[in-house]
Amino acid sequence: MKAAEMRAALEWLDAEVAALRAATPAHAAVIERLATELHQARVHLLNIDNIIRIGHPALVPHAFPILHTLVLITSRVGVTYLPALQHQGPRERFVRGLVRCAARAVGLTWLTDVVVRLDGPHAAYVAYPELPILYAPPRQASSLIDLPGLYHELGHAALEFDRTTGGGGVGVLLRGTVTQHFAELARRAGPLTPERRAARESRLAEAATFWSEARLAEIFCDVLATVVCGPAHYLSFVDLAFRDGRNPFGAHASHPPLAARVRACERTLTLPHQREPVVEQLRAAWATHEREHTASHEYEVACSASLIDALVHASLEGISAALPGCQPFTQPLSHPDQIGIREASGTLEELLNRAAVLLVLVPGRYAEWERDAVARCGRIAEEALGD
């Protein structure tokens, strides 16, 4: 039954992808990749047919993984890529241009294309890291607020590319940092009874397992976005953390606690950026927020300041190795008086940092300034797409 359903789904998807080929020539590389996946799906279907035809019960368990692979392919093409490609208008083009520009700053030299979908919170689909889908809220087409979040999402593409093509060196660095940190803590135990030593080692081992591959990935992406966007990303992240409203020392799903992530962003900033009035103001506000909550003992062990700092260091090392073209943002921030209404020049990262200065120090000026800045972003986007 499922094989018949898949056959029908593949026929429909073939027709849809053929229609897209004509309708969206700008995404030819993505469409070629989808067509290759659909061709591969037909080979999988043939393998299921063969297993069914032979009919031996010992072979049947091997049909299920193939069937699940078919579900993945048809879902990826039909549920993820197709709707994204079918909704490509001027707003998506604008954000796509900004993402291309951001990707260049991040050092994603291998990025072939990117599809933008403006109907949800920031997220990335990176099964094909060189052809990712970037999700952003509709407002992103006319506002710079939260735009630094897209740099974080590009980090997921960078990590996935490193895992599949670069040997996974970044993941090894991060995992090694966690292992070394907790091994060092275990060594420093001093004289203890065997029972207390065993209990301590068990607690440390549990804290080490807290750092799943997914949580380490989030820290790496936070660090990368802060390297490339500077204080603009720090502001964007602190803002996200304030909006969350929950205890910042608690972990949620596959993400590390917000307090640990805010620290990672802050420690990633260059020393001059850490002393910028914008950053000092945000740091003070965040410290006040943290004092309103209590950190659990588990948080203190799993997310100690020394471990977060070590993870920042490992991430920076990973960025140097995996993204040699990455362009860190190191410029001093503009004084509010130097930020004009007519924003005719400046890179995307400069604009994002000017936005941060105005939002924090003179918020009353932001809305008017943003209109001009978005117009400048339109030109940046077109230049990036014209490459």
């Binding site: 699940h68 879902s75 990335a124 895992r163 990935a217 992406c221 993400h255």
Partner: protein, 136 residues
């Protein structure tokens, strides 16, 4: 905060590993049943399958013997050890590795253990698939 960035990459890696291991075990099953031709498998495919499985089983056995649920194999080991003890698995997998390294055909017990591994990998993959695309 979305988990899509991580999960969308993770599922691709899970699928690729499952495909390699499933294809390899299927080839050995088909050889044992004498239906390799019907699945369009030749001797080269079977030989390659033995090599791939040896590499994978060596990693899995080392992780099981190390006593840790190491991150990339964590879920797989959790699923396997919920059915049988680590020691039983290590014994079976070492036997299978020995048979794979020689020209011996695998025993039904070895093939059974390998199929269980395929099913465990498939369960992990299906779980991630449901997380991404399951009807809520």
């Amino acid at each position: 905060m979305s988990v899509l960035g991580y999960v969308s990459g993770q599922i691709e890696r899970e699928q690729q590993q499952l495909a390699v291991i499933n294809r390899a075990v299927l080839a050995l099953r088909a050889e044992a049943l004498g239906v390799g031709d019907a699945l369009q498998l030749d001797r080269v495919a079977v030989k390659e399958s033995r090599g791939r499985l040896q590499t994978f089983l060596a990693q899995l056995t080392a992780t099981l013997a190390g006593g840790t649920a190491d991150v990339p194999m964590g879920t797989l080991i959790e699923i396997l050890t919920s059915r049988r003890s680590r020691e039983d698995w290590i014994e079976d997998l070492r036997g299978a590795q020995h048979a794979l390294a020689s020209v011996e055909q695998l025993t039904p017990q070895h093939l059974g253990a390998l199929t269980e591994i395929v099913q465990a990998l498939d369960r992990e993959f299906a779980g991630t698939l449901h997380r991404l695309y399951g009807r809520q």
